[in-house]
Amino acid sequence: MLLFTLQKAGSPEDAIAAAQAGARYIAGGTTLIDLMREEVERPERLVDINALPLKDIRVEGEDLVFGALARMSEIAAHPDVLRLQPLVAESLIEGASPQLRNMASIGGNLLQRVRCPYFRMHDAACNKRQPGSGCTALDGLNGGHAILGTSEQCVATHPSDVAVAFVALDATMRVRGPDGERSFPVEELFRLPGDTPHLEHTLLPGELILEVRVPGGAHARQARYLKVRDRASYEFALVSAAAALEIEDGVIRTVRIACGGVGTKPWRMRACEQALIGRPPDRANLEAAAKLALEGTRPLAHNHYKIELLPRTIARALEMAGELA
């Protein structure tokens, strides 16, 4: 790996000060160190935030609050998570191997870099790594790439599974920066590539994720995550869907749907949701609503199959959630 310096932060203030001076945060390191090995990430200074008191997992009413440094494995196994937010647990289990789940923090998970083989190769042109250098994937082997939210500059998908669950469940996050704290929906963390694909999220310089809050409710207890992939473990989603349902008197009262593997960020499917409200959760309704997810999709040369797969995945995930009743 290239040379860098490492310091340890004893408090959020220390960490933020180091970040303001140009350091990058490192927690579990599962993304950052991997990409540093490939010389794709080239930070000169790292600040280790693992000692910060941001590890709790707590219940507030029906809401769950995860400290940014809570490990994927701790959240996935937590009895309150399994009881109130099974979708979160399922997406975490599907997201990584046990060893990585033990290492990776929930904050770091959200900040994973995109899934694109050309992004991972420092000798390939990539607007994300080097703005203006071009996008090798646009006319390259782009079978795994996005069909929603793409631009001429970047077509890479966001890899996180739990982010899809969070976006579906209207999770919010609290961050602290040099100018204090703010909260916003997790969905607003992610930016579309547009003309600035090198900017992936909306955190301001020095901002540190403190926690993620996932609102509970009947729909959150009846929610599933379906990850479709070419092997059963340790593989990114071709398409994934998080689906949460509340059914009352035989009709859908509340529904939340978000998808992974198809967008340049976790993609909330609001048109599908609206089409389902007040309708019985039968197969025909689920399939009809799922097709609305295709609005605005733009397939590339090698990912047309996602057009076929996306509505099928949504319908099936909804059906799986319905079966929990």
């Binding site: 490492l6 000169e44 494995s73 191997s97 046990p98 060893q99 033990n102």
Partner: protein
């Protein structure tokens, strides 16, 4: 690399325990845990297979949890407790699993085996008799290219059963 960065220290002192023994070392911040163990301490039981957290050959135990030795920096481990296959062989913590792996021939080339044993020990530590699917899920982060996996699952299942019944399995 800019000169600015080089003016900051890029080596740090760490004190940790490895296999129960205290170790004090000054390491490059870029030293990966698996390289620290293999190259600096001569503990070659953890293997580097893919070097980006996929294959599981470098699986180790740090502070009681199984981790990827290739994605962890030694410099981050001040105060940590690290166990490798050499250490857990000495304590006997893996003895029944090791015996079962040999008995069931749950290894061929052996390169994945130390990492696989850690993942196996981890699911066994949860107690009870895990299902074969649960075993497969738990060790899916550990590739084996030789055996076909069946024997590995068999061996773990056997040890889980023996432990649940309170039987001693000799090495």
């Amino acid at each position: 690399m800019s000169d600015t960065a080089q003016s900051f220290p890029t080596r740090v002192d760490i004190s940790l325990t490895v296999n129960g023994e205290p170790v004090d070392a000054r390491v490059d911040v870029s030293r990966h845990l698996v390289d620290f163990l293999r190259l600096d301490l001569g503990l070659t039981g953890a293997h580097a297979g893919c070097e980006h957290g996929v294959c599981g050959a470098c699986t180790l135990q740090v502070d009681g949890e199984i981790v990827r030795g290739c994605l962890m920096l030694a410099a981050q481990l001040d105060g940590a407790e690290v166990w490798t296959v050499e250490g857990l062989t000495e304590t006997g913590a893996l003895a029944d699993l090791q015996a079962a792996f040999v008995e069931r021939n749950a290894l061929q080339c052996g390169f994945c085996t130390p990492g696989m044993l850690f993942a196996a020990a981890d699911i066994l530590a949860q107690g009870g008799q895990p299902s074969r699917v649960a075993i497969r899920e738990h060790i899916s982060g550990n590739y084996c290219r030789c055996t076909g996996y069946e024997a590995v699952v068999d061996a773990i299942e056997t040890v889980a059963g023996a432990r649940a019944r309170g039987e001693e399995v000799s090495a």
